[in-house]
Symmetry: C2
Subunit: 353 residues, 2 copies
DNA sequence: TTTTAGCACTCGCGCCGCCACAGTGCCAAC
DNA sequence: GTTGGCACTGTGGCGGCGCGAGTGCTAAAA
């Protein structure tokens, strides 16, 4: 305990040592011993003194010793303190930025899903961790056009084109056998009525429109509305899904070498469980957010950290991206990478045409 | 060596013992000892006699001992012999068949890709191994309709509808700014000209058509053909891809517990490497095919077996499906499952409308 | 000639004790 | 408050030991 011995307050020396300790541990994964720390910290403190400080830090719960006579390892609280109050972020190198800009700006992306995939893959490659990107919410993207194609006797394909150039297809069943020209008229009618709205408001506003005007509608319009109901009834294909890349990077991580643990993570990725909750929490955040170890609230991620950032189109948040890795990750590199990726994804999603 | 001592010929007793040994080993994963084998084989041979036979089998390369004083384990040659000449397949239980039929017959499948996904997932669940299904070759599926939607100044969306109800979208760039009605006419023209052909023949026959008739074409038709060239130039989005499910099942497999080995497999799944070659080999096969261990020719699969079956639409093979697991798998259960799944996928793909 | 029992031998595995090493905690001196 | 010194302790690696499993071989039985 020191001069300013309030519960959590650390004096500068302790803070500096904690910082160095976390950095050391992140760098080489070994518990940090007093001697090594004394050297690394650069100050001319002897190992013995360092030991005293370490004892204090342990008492306060920032670090812990895996066993009696080993060095110290940061606890979650230690990481948290480090990340919140002493992290010196290293902006990504220009070649990394160039790569992000290039690959996210490419014209080959046919859909927002392609962009998400690229982003996820880039995240995983730049950080050597698992990258994760939720698909941008189509609900918030405005409809531009609706089209129907007759597929068979009673089946038609509905094509929704969004202003951001995205396209969605859905097969619908027809109550009665509409001709091609009837379908075309229905499509025109619906496009006229609905274009400019996002799916969400269409879904909730549709009934109103229907009820308000039913008196003045002709038969075809009634059919059209029936069709529309079917089209928009289905769950949003892609909303709430995410794309993972580079999961296998996690297999090389010492701390996660337990196969059963890994299986848990991979299953969670595949079934899109758990992770979604976590990502959703970041939807309201303003910038990069970090969940360390147990903070995520899911046992699965006990030895993991998740670094996320929401990304926006216009001034509206439409998705979240980030990386998942061991608590012992190079935060100072990872955080800025996630940050700029979020910005660049936003840029890539911006309607250009 | 026995009465009929030609190089590979085994007498009935040796064959029976080999069969039992493989079955035993598959059942409990432990090297099989002479005593245990003597009991399991049911014949009233003493362990000593069994040992003699085992020595012969080892000399011939069918089995091997992991170390001097352990039981015996089948070699690849042993598995091969077992699978080819003494396997008694167990048809899947009625509840498994019912499940396959139900989930593959569902109407919720919007595309062939959905069917492939279901099949893959079912395969992995029924076998507790990794399921793999190539997407059916769209090249062989005939075009039914082509449609264009104007997306912006110089961009349009091409929509290809196939006779099997599949739909593909591609964004194309326009040389000049075509109006909606021009696009419609182009679409009509192309549909008239190309419907009924598969992508493959369109791609190769298109130039001919263009050249033959250029003299008699009006400007719009020229535009249409230019568009078509762009649409069909791109690689087939989905051909040659495959869907994997249940990879994580492999994490529970003893024999593959080495994390690096697993990583290799998972990377191969993600990047769709290697596996494709393997699956392609089965494209010409007539029924279930089995690659045991090194037979696959890829180091990656050294301790794995791959059981595949092609599936067809009409009488044409359009894809391959199967499972990947450890060499020590329950072939007698897996093989029939793969077999009926192939049939049922074929059925599910059959154009019903 | 084939089958069997018996026996010696080998290997793998788990266990224990040992030791060296790393690093701590504490005490006494500065 | 800081430091050097020193005793203490848990870990990890290594060798030895005993045990159990299972073989190969030999010699006797069928």
């Amino acid at each position: 305990m020191t001069a300013q011995s309030s519960n959590d307050a650390l004096d500068d020396r302790a803070r500096h040592l904690l910082k160095t300790l976390v950095e050391q541990y992140i760098a080489d994964g070994q518990p940090v011993a007093s001697r090594k720390l004394s050297k690394a910290a650069g100050s001319r403190l002897s190992p013995a003194t360092v030991r005293n400080v370490m004892a204090d830090l342990e008492e306060l719960g920032f670090i812990q010793a895996p066993h009696t006579s080993a060095g110290r390892v940061p606890t979650v609280k230690g990481y948290r303190c480090f990340v919140d109050t002493m992290l010196a972020v290293k902006p990504p190198g220009p070649e990394d930025i160039a790569r992000l800009e290039k690959e996210l700006g490419l014209d080959v992306h046919q859909s927002t899903k392609d962009i998400a995939r690229s982003a996820s893959s880039l995240l995983s490659q730049l950080t050597r961790l698992a990258g994760v990107v939720t698909l941008p919410r189509a609900t918030r993207s405005r409809l531009r056009q609706i089209e129907f194609l007759r597929l068979g006797e009673r089946r038609a394909l509905a094509i929704l084109v969004f202003e951001n150039q995205d396209v969605q297809n859905r097969v619908v069943n027809l109550d009665r056998n509409l001709t091609e020209s009837e379908l075309r008229q229905a499509a025109n009618y619906l496009t006229r009525e609905l274009a400019g709205n996002d799916v969400e408001s269409v879904r909730s506003g549709l009934i109103d429109a229907l009820n308000q005007t039913r008196a003045t509608m002709n038969g075809l319009m009634v059919d059209a509305v029936t069709l529309a109901q079917q089209v928009f009834a289905g769950r949003d294909d892609e909303t709430g899904q995410f794309v993972v890349a580079g999961e296998t990077n996690l297999m090389d991580v010492q701390e996660l070498s337990n196969v059963q643990r890994l299986r848990g993570l991979f299953d969670a990725f595949n079934e899109q469980r758990d992770i979604l909750h976590l990502l959703d929490q970041s939807l309201t955040a303003d910038g990069v957010e970090i969940f360390i170890g147990e903070e995520s609230g899911h046992q699965l991620f006990d030895d993991c950290s998740v670094v996320t950032a929401p990304y926006r189109v216009g001034d509206e948040i439409v998705g979240v991206l980030g990386v998942i890795g061991p608590t012992r990750m190079a935060y100072e590199r990872v955080i800025p990478i996630v940050d700029v990726t979020a910005r660049l994804v936003a840029a890539a999603l911006h309607p250009k045409g």
